[in-house]
């Protein structure tokens, strides 16, 4: 009989990504969700209740009874949390806009560069990934600090007499995020611009458009899907960013990733930290769904 073995094999192939998501996303998420519903305790692990399989069915019922939404209520009561969420949102939105502002012209330049240059330019965009992200953020500390390269350069040119305070401010966070996530903005925009049929721009010129008009009426709308993809690829990780604000930001830089880290490691309050993470995930589900929809639409348009 044909088919039986094939069908089994087909199912296994389909099952692999699901298994992967199950093990590395759903199971950890289930654990985090469970901890967020638990209470803080001075013990190892630092929360109660813990599931004791030997207690049997009644033990499991007691275990469920002890779970509650106390931590989520707490998040709404302390202003720190929603301020941190809002501040993260603001920083993510502004840095996404800045990344777009820097990334679009670069992608445009790459797409319009001579064919033989493109692989080199692409290489230059990807090159920073060869060095650890952490090391590159540390390098920015050396550039942005009071005695850093940037201030030395500015004072040498005479543009400023006093060194500028950049490190440990939100400005440094923006610089860090824009720098780090720039390739994620450039690559999807480049991909859409590269596919753009040059004869469309000739047609626009032929029908009376100047180059600037042709850009806004043809190039910009046709690269929209790349812009949307790039923005989500920057926005989604930026909102939960922890390393950049803690290394480059100041004490007043409030981001939810930093709050989460402090709850977890400084306060050892795993349940509250987990609740913060669950809320963050729920906030991110919205842009992720929008991102997926954009990808879907683009695929349909290409067919």
């Amino acid at each position: 009989m044909t088919g039986w073995g094939d069908r089994l094999r087909g199912r296994i192939v389909v099952a692999v990504p699901y298994l992967w998501l199950m093990l590395l996303f759903m199971v950890p998420f289930g654990i985090v969700l469970k901890i967020s519903l638990s209470d803080y305790a001075v013990s190892i692990p630092p929360y109660t209740p813990t599931l004791d399989p030997s207690a049997g069915w009644s033990g499991f019922q007691d275990f469920l009874g002890e779970l509650d939404f106390e931590n989520f209520v707490w998040l709404t009561q302390d202003a720190l949390y929603w301020k941190a969420y809002l501040s993260s949102l603001k920083i993510a939105v502004i840095s996404t806009a800045l990344t777009l502002l820097v990334g679009y012209p670069i992608a445009y330049g790459m797409a319009n560069a001579p064919d033989e240059w493109r692989p080199t330019l692409m290489m230059l965009v990807i090159l920073p990934f060869w060095t650890s992200f952490l090391i590159r953020v540390y390098a920015w500390m050396g550039i942005l600090s009071q005695e850093g390269f940037l201030n030395q350069f500015l004072m040498w040119t005479g543009l400023t007499a006093e060194p500028l305070t950049i490190l440990n401010t939100n400005t440094a966070v923006y610089i860090g995020i824009v720098y780090t996530y720039l390739p994620f903005m450039i690559l999807p925009i480049y991909a859409t611009l590269e596919k753009l049929d040059a004869s469309l721009l000739e047609a626009a010129a032929d029908l009376g458009c100047t180059r600037v008009q042709a850009f806004w009426l043809v190039t910009a709308p046709l690269s929209k899907s790349g812009v949307i993809a790039g923005c989500f690829l920057v926005f989604i990780p930026a909102i939960g960013e922890f390393v950049i604000p803690s290394l480059l930001g100041g004490s007043r830089t409030l981001m939810i990733g930093k709050v989460l880290w402090e709850e977890f490691f400084s306060n050892r309050d795993w349940p509250v930290a987990s609740a913060v993470a669950v809320i963050l995930l729920m906030i991110l589900v919205i842009p992720i769904i929008l991102f997926q929809r954009n990808e879907q639409k683009q695929r349909e348009a290409e067919q």
């Binding site: 000739e202 032929d206 029908l207 043809v218 929209k224």
Partner: protein, 375 residues
Amino acid sequence: MAQSVFAPWADPNEKPLIQFRNVTKRFGDFTAIDDLTLDIFRREFFALLGPSGCGKTTLMRMLAGFEAPTEGTITLDGKDISPVPPHKREVNMMFQSYALFPHLTVYDNIAFGLKRSDMSRDEIAARVEQMLKMVQLQKFARRKPHQISGGQRQRVALARSLAKAPKLLLLDEPLGALDRKLREETQFELMDIQEKTGTTFVIVTHDQEEAMTVASRVAVMDHGKVIQVDTPDRIYETPNCVYVADFIGDVNLIEGNAYPAGDDRVSIEWAEGQPGIIATPAGAVEAGARITFAIRPEKVAICRDRPEDLPNAVRGRILDIAYLGNISTYHVALPSGHVIKAQTANDRRIARRSFTWEDEVWLGWTATAGVVLTQ
């Protein structure tokens, strides 16, 4: 009442709409257009015909303004257009790929050029409606280009390029993407629209049938030069060189030496033991000059017995028969090794066909059936 024939190229008082004067275009070392001079007149349907790489597309792109000539001048209505950028030229182009804007509806595609002009919104709407009606796409105004068929896209492209009522419309292989039936229909539609709008059309094509069907005049190009510019019938009947004769349609080419034979005729010595071919050259030919005799297969008669009334008759054996439905082409091998093609219309059913493979037949033609080519 005699209808006046449209032939502005024959009228010395007529001023050409477009004039190419010694135009050369080089891309690096490559010469795409080589010292070309050409006149195109108002209301003409002018075809640029040639194999790929002959420079016809470059010529068209220079008219649109996407390329500038390296040397020479191009004038439109007497004005040099070299310094005019594409968006300011009263020239519109229909692109080979149609280049419809995928993010805009059919309506907005057609309105695109109009919105760049100083027309009012009502005028634009009226003009777009008029164009939609012309190409019979009123029902599809709200569709996006990917939601309509290839033939409909082609018509949107045509409507878009005609919407601004340009002085000159350029068509770059406009029917290349359509299947044969649709292409033939569209050719007649194009001619119809060209006549109705009175716009001058310049079409680039590598399809000689298309050029012959639609054009008032055809320019046959090769290696950046115009080889012959003439009406389709003259290009076919009186090509000025072997290249044109060979490029357009099917032809028998026989090389030989021409000698005067009286009455403006020549006798062409072309093979040992064969009588000379009697032909009528268009101009004077030097005695003994090396020439090529070109004759179309449909002008060669094929018969069982020697055709006594024809000045030219040769005997051969049928090598091959290409049956094309309406016509059959017989490939006849002569004792000299030449293979001559003769075409007959299949006005009888196939069972009653007179000849078959290996038959011994006679081929004959009149003294004026072929042309004598010196180039």
